[in-house]
Symmetry: C2
Subunit: 441 residues, 2 copies
């Protein structure tokens, strides 16, 4: 068997990179739980008819087939891998509605799959960390601010570049287009979504060609898209454009409330940005995109919105609002560029060295006493020369080596060379050495 | 959209069940890290030629197809979902050999997929928690005892029924069959693997029919399979059967060493059991199966073995030994039977009640002060009547409700009804209320 090659679009991490990712995910989990979100995991697969119901993304589904499936065997519904965590969650809510308490808040950290062409920053398998709040019947608007604040809190102390949340409201944009006299407001929204990629001139042309806008209407759409503010001043600037429509008013009120609440509780985190549209077509109100400041061209590292019509069982609607952090999208480039690293590649804090192989049972018992007090410990692979055992620790970044001499049990800090006689039942490493830590470049 | 139905073979958990599973997985992770195992995650997919190389299980692969794949597009290798975590790990080791330090120890907790017919205790998607130690060239035998001890440690304090590890060695069995004069020892092993399912008479018949055993040879195979012991006394009992073979001797020595080391460090955990064979054909020495005591008929909840020939790049071999805990197999039946539950269905410890909706920003700030000290806190969905807000907490098992009166900030334990004036910057819940806990029936 020759050496296998990586699969394009399926990033995998080395152990020390994975330690960074794991600690980031732990941090997110802790933040979500501090805000009362319960964890869920849904299966990787959904029936194809579910996956094909909504949005552009559904075209990129991976379809499954059992290798042993019998051609005559039609008992299995056709299954595909989920392409996000929102569609499976909406299905889970419908399936289990009778057993859940609403409003229901959950977080979910799982991989998703998209069968698209791999390219810079795009993966075929990647991890997302989602939070959502779903209610039965009506979803109070204050949750639109709350999920933004949870994400602000979760991203706050991570070793990542500064990020900022751009927020808009689809009612605002579509109401504005409607007030202008554009009929196909959904298509207009899809065209505006391309603005950052194709520029204003091409966007204006698309609006004229695609939704029969007059050049003046197209220009007004671009004027709207150019408006942004860190406070609610966007409202007056939009009103100054002279368009009026009831849906626009609704959107203005909702967006102002979100921006006001988020700016108050997390100053500097949010910006109202009228060019945010979002590709997925299940959003019905507030939409969010989080960018690394100064690197907006890399695309959003977190996004989401409010969806009022994703889940309904005929009797009840289950409107929701949520945000999805692109864990792989955020971390893989930083890890691959070496901008994030771990202090060591193993959890091990102490290596127990062996003078000879017969000592292994005694050394095993010694190691277990350290573990009982929460100190990650492993044994030397062999009773090699002491220098070789030190090198084993050094190569992995294990800071301490324990060994026994006539003077008793010795603990050596292999970085400083300091050596102390210790009592294994009371010795503790410095707090910063107990577990690997994340270091930034 | 009507209510979706569960997919057979793809178990999903309710929030309070997931809290149990999450805490069990956290416990396993902590145990593995205390023993110096670093975490890895491999992609869900492998090229089909990799997946079809080894073992019975490979027949149950789920094959993937991109919905948008072009029939003329042959650039993508055919991919399938992994059916275990050992094959992907062996591939990862080969692919990254130059960047890893050997012996390399890792744990991996991920779902695996098998496209088999779902039936009692069998799933199409299920979670496994694997540990493995892989070396370059030669793998020291002491790791065969070590991985068993790590699993003993990891399973020790879990809220599960008592388990016991049954261990055998393929060299021992195959050497014995060889010494008897049976040529196809691998097939003989596969037949013995069925003993518990089909009984001794049918097994003897299969041996006569399948590997040309004489009735006497078949009887000797059954005599071997009947031997078990909690210490190394199995050695003398096997010798008493009067078969001699160099491979048998090797197996006896290796198995005696494992049983001796494990029985010393974890008394009562291990039993040498000559009928253990294991279905996967990549094992070459020690094999393990862990059963719930008294419920061996449910099948093993953890299994593994030593594999000397799974990974090789022509220049180097990468022999390994590992064990895989069937997280879903162990927990899903206990959860579905209600034998394990959580004290509450949310992480939330404190609900902040609202006197009116205008208080939400102030309540948000108050909640954040509790969170800053690690106390999971959420706000009331609305400023409903106080009794309704208490009911909201009660339905979810949230133990404390915080609210503000003229006499200051009040904390109410809704179980006892006790109410205290508190300082939110110093108040702490009893330690057992901070997070949900697992309760057993």
């Amino acid at each position: 068997m020759s050496r296998p090659q990586p699969l394009s679009g399926f990033p995998e991490l080395l152990p020390r990179q994975r330690i960074v990712e794991q600690q980031v995910v732990d941090h997110l989990r802790r933040a979500f739980e501090l805000h009362g979100f319960a964890n869920l995991q849904t299966r990787a697969v959904e029936p194809m008819d579910q996956l094909l119901r909504k949005g552009e993304t559904s075209k990129e589904v991976y379809v499954l087939r059992r290798l042993q499936a019998d051609a005559r065997d039609t008992s299995d519904a056709e299954l595909g891998l989920h392409f996000d965590l929102t569609v499976p969650f909406a299905r889970y809510v419908l399936e289990n509605a009778g057993k859940l308490n609403f409003p229901f808040r959950r977080y979910q950290i799982q991989p998703v799959w998209r069968g698209e062409r791999p390219q810079g920053g795009r993966y075929r398998e990647f991890w997302q960390a989602d939070i959502d709040i779903v209610d039965q019947g009506e979803l109070p608007a204050h949750y639109e601010a709350e999920v933004a604040l949870v994400v602000a809190d979760a991203l706050k102390d991570l070793p990542i570049p500064k990020v900022r949340m751009h927020v808009n409201n689809r009612k605002l944009s579509q109401g504005f287009y409607q007030g202008l006299g554009i009929a196909d407001t959904e298509e207009a929204l899809r065209i505006i979504d391309k603005l950052d990629k194709i520029g204003p001139d091409a966007t204006a042309k698309l609006l004229v060609d695609g939704v029969d806008a007059t050049p003046e209407q197209a220009e007004a759409c671009l004027q709207l898209a150019a408006i942004s503010s860190e406070d609610t001043s966007f409202v007056a600037r939009i009103r100054a454009l002279g368009v009026s429509d009831p849906l626009l008013e609704e959107g203005l009120t909702e967006l102002a409330a979100v921006v006001d609440a988020v700016a108050t509780a997390a100053p500097g985190f949010v910006v109202a940005d009228m060019k945010i549209a979002r590709g997925l077509d299940y959003y019905t109100g507030t939409v969010y995109e989080v960018f690394i400041e100064g690197e907006e061209h890399l695309g959003s590292v977190c996004s989401g919105g409010r969806y009022d019509r994703l889940a309904s069982d005929g009797k009840n609607a289950y409107p929701g609002v949520g945000l999805s952090i692109g864990v792989s999208r955020l971390l893989v480039p930083l890890l691959q560029a070496g901008r994030l690293d771990a202090t060591r590649e193993v959890p091990t804090c102490v290596l127990v060295a062996l003078a000879n192989e017969e000592d292994r049972p005694a050394a095993t018992a010694l190691a277990q006493r350290l573990r009982a007090r929460g100190i990650p410990t492993q044994l030397s692979p062999s009773a090699a020369k002491f220098g070789k055992q030190i090198k084993f620790a050094d190569k992995r970044g294990i800071p301490f080596v324990l060994f026994t001499t006539d003077e008793g049990t010795q603990m050596k800090d292999i970085r400083s060379g300091d050596q102390l006689t210790v009592d294994v039942d009371t010795w503790n490493p410095p707090a910063e050495d107990l577990h690997p830590r994340i270091i930034t470049e």
